[in-house]
Symmetry: C2
Subunit: 352 residues, 2 copies
DNA sequence: GCAAAAAGCGCAAACGATTGTTCTAACATA
DNA sequence: TATGTTAGAACAATCGTTTGCGCTTTTTGC
């Protein structure tokens, strides 16, 4: 059909005899403002339709310094947590006529740095970044240079960077309290990437919950170093072989919990008889697991949506003011993976 | 830090005294070709680094008619199947210096049509589309207009459009044969969106497997109309209440299988004692479900990677030749969700 | 010593859209 | 008739890169 090369203003101009200026103005709804006659406008509009004219976004972007595009930087889009967020970011952006360039950083800070640079070069109007989380300077640079940005999930509360994240402290606190209420005292954490804010906050929540229940905190019971499944598997394996096996595991991500489950099965143990488990971040299938998994549910949709709103706010205001941080509450979902246990005498003593 | 507006060729030019032309050439590695002295080149390269120069992709794209960007159109990025594919597409594209604009169509053909149009206007160099799947003309238009495109998953084998998809026929055939080998005769299908090629092919595989085993095909035992979880739930509910309840369910997607599991639980039935189940598309958590789920595994990575390769092939060749279709084999994964059952006398007779 | 070749680089147009300014009629006013 | 208005539209610059061609200067060959 349309084998001719693309219709441009020039094409229309020579076809109609009007200047590109006039045509551009009409097509941008500025006919009145520039006193272009209704008659002319009609002709132009009709013809543009007939020739299926679409303005070249590159040219327009170049001129206007507006691309109507946001960059979305994600450590692993195949992680359902990030996929959900990506979905809500995309949807919210689309509502406002914006598109999304997706960059998967494979949990690799170098790729993340390159991606951010790439997106700057591509004239993004804003960046939604779920960083790997251990370093922030490349993100601060962006913000200081005036490019709107919002950090999600692994944020940097002590840097001047806007962020949206779950209330990890509260979520962990509730989860651990729940375990304690069920009689657990030896509660292991399989953590994610260290020195990231979600990880730190969850550990704080963990510690505070222990503290408030007068349970001593044993450092060696916090293990692991990644939010991935393999880490969950490996660390659970080790934990389970210890002679004073923990009675419960708090997995810092949905993937970690999957890995832990695998290890538990391999060791011929079962949930929750032999060991209880709670995972951070709920998943649709948690209900159907061998033992339905208790979890700290994050509000994926809210996170993505609010993050995108913050970007648009920045784009509109044009002034990189003081960064605001938003904490989204979590919700503890109780399922069968937690067993109520008798406290041992040993532990009773500890309490005394 | 870098509060000055972006460094451009002009900035560099006035700073260094060389023309934009020369600088551009050096920075594009064409110094030799245009006989620019090593000395000059070094100065320019160093300075570009110091001033953190990144070429404006819009300007370059305008000039070169190249955006180094692919459009990725997906019905639902939060579906792990599509998320996995998105990941491999992004990765493969990145390898070649390309970026991805992500459009989620929410399983809605209208949004899909708009997205495709949007991406054309945005000068994408190619489109990877996982269509809703019931209509193809807007995609054909794109291909005929010379824009490289490849369809994944819900393809259109009888249209002239390149595609990559799992061998759905073979996958279904094997799954059903496996069920039959285990004594099942009354095998229900909860299908996805009708008149899409994966759905059609899976049904063909289903029917042929029955046929080759001399089992009569009952139309009323194929139900459902969407790949979503709700459909799986609803249809399973109905199936389970029938007096001649099927002995096995073949779920046409991972989400459908989740919905079906929910229904099965609600009816106080259990897998595989009361009913066997096989799902199309394996998921990492299938191993850990109440009863580990047998499934037809699709090679997500392969699909995304090969699709992207086909796009690049088209981009390079510049000639929209006859479209090629690629079928990726599936793999049947046997887990505990299928029970070996006695054939009833009734069915034995049928076989005779 | 002098034309020819090579080295080293810049000029200016082009990509397609937008916009402040300017131009040209036609019409109105005095 | 001379002057002022206004409607209607075009000019030309701009955004930042790329590239065909052309322009100097230096080097080479004999």
């Amino acid at each position: 059909m349309d084998h001719s090369s693309k219709t441009t203003l020039k094409t229309l101009s020579s076809k109609l005899g009007f200047s590109e200026t006039t045509i551009s103005r009409v097509l941008n709804g500025k006919a009145e403002k520039y006193r272009i006659s209704k008659k002319t406008a009609d002709i132009i509009i009709q013809s543009a339709k007939d020739l299926n004219f679409t303005p070249n976004i590159l040219a327009r972007g170049l001129r206007l310094k507006k691309t109507h595009t946001l960059g979305l930087v994600i450590p692993d889009i195949s992680n359902p947590f990030f996929a959900s967020i990506a979905r809500s970011v995309e949807r919210e952006a689309r509502k406002f006529g914006y598109s999304i360039i997706l960059c998967d950083t494979e949990e690799n800070t170098n790729i993340e740095i390159k991606s951010v640079q790439l997106l700057r070069g591509r004239n993004m109007e804003g960046l939604v970044v779920a960083p790997v989380g251990q370093t922030a300077s490349h993100l601060e640079d962006v913000y200081n240079a005036g490019l709107p940005i919002v950090i999600i999930d692994r944020c940097f509360p002590n840097k001047n960077l806007p962020y949206v994240t779950s209330d990890n402290y509260q979520g962990a606190y509730e989860a651990i309290s729940y375990l304690i209420d069920n009689g657990h005292r030896r509660i292991a954490c399989i953590q994610g990437l260290e020195n990231t804010s979600p990880n730190n906050d969850r550990i704080r929540g963990y510690k505070d919950a222990l503290l408030n229940n007068h349970i001593p905190y044993v450092k060696s019971i916090i293990v692991g170093d990644s939010f991935g499944e393999l880490n969950g598997y490996t660390e659970a394996k080790i934990l389970l072989k210890k002679k004073d096996r923990p009675t419960a595991i708090f997995a810092f991500s949905n993937l970690i919990s999957l890995g832990a489950l695998k290890a538990i099965e391999e060791e011929n143990l079962s949930v929750p008889e032999d060991i209880s488990i709670v995972a951070f971040d709920d998943q649709p299938y948690f209900d159907h697991l061998a033992t339905p998994m208790s979890s700290v549910a994050q509000q994926h949709n809210e996170i993505g949506q609010i993050a995108t709103k913050i970007i648009f706010k920045q784009i509109k205001s044009k002034t990189s003011s003081v960064a605001e941080g938003v904490l989204i509450p979590t919700k503890l979902i109780k399922r069968a993976s937690v067993k109520r246990i008798q406290q041992s005498i040993y532990h009773e003593k500890e309490l005394a």
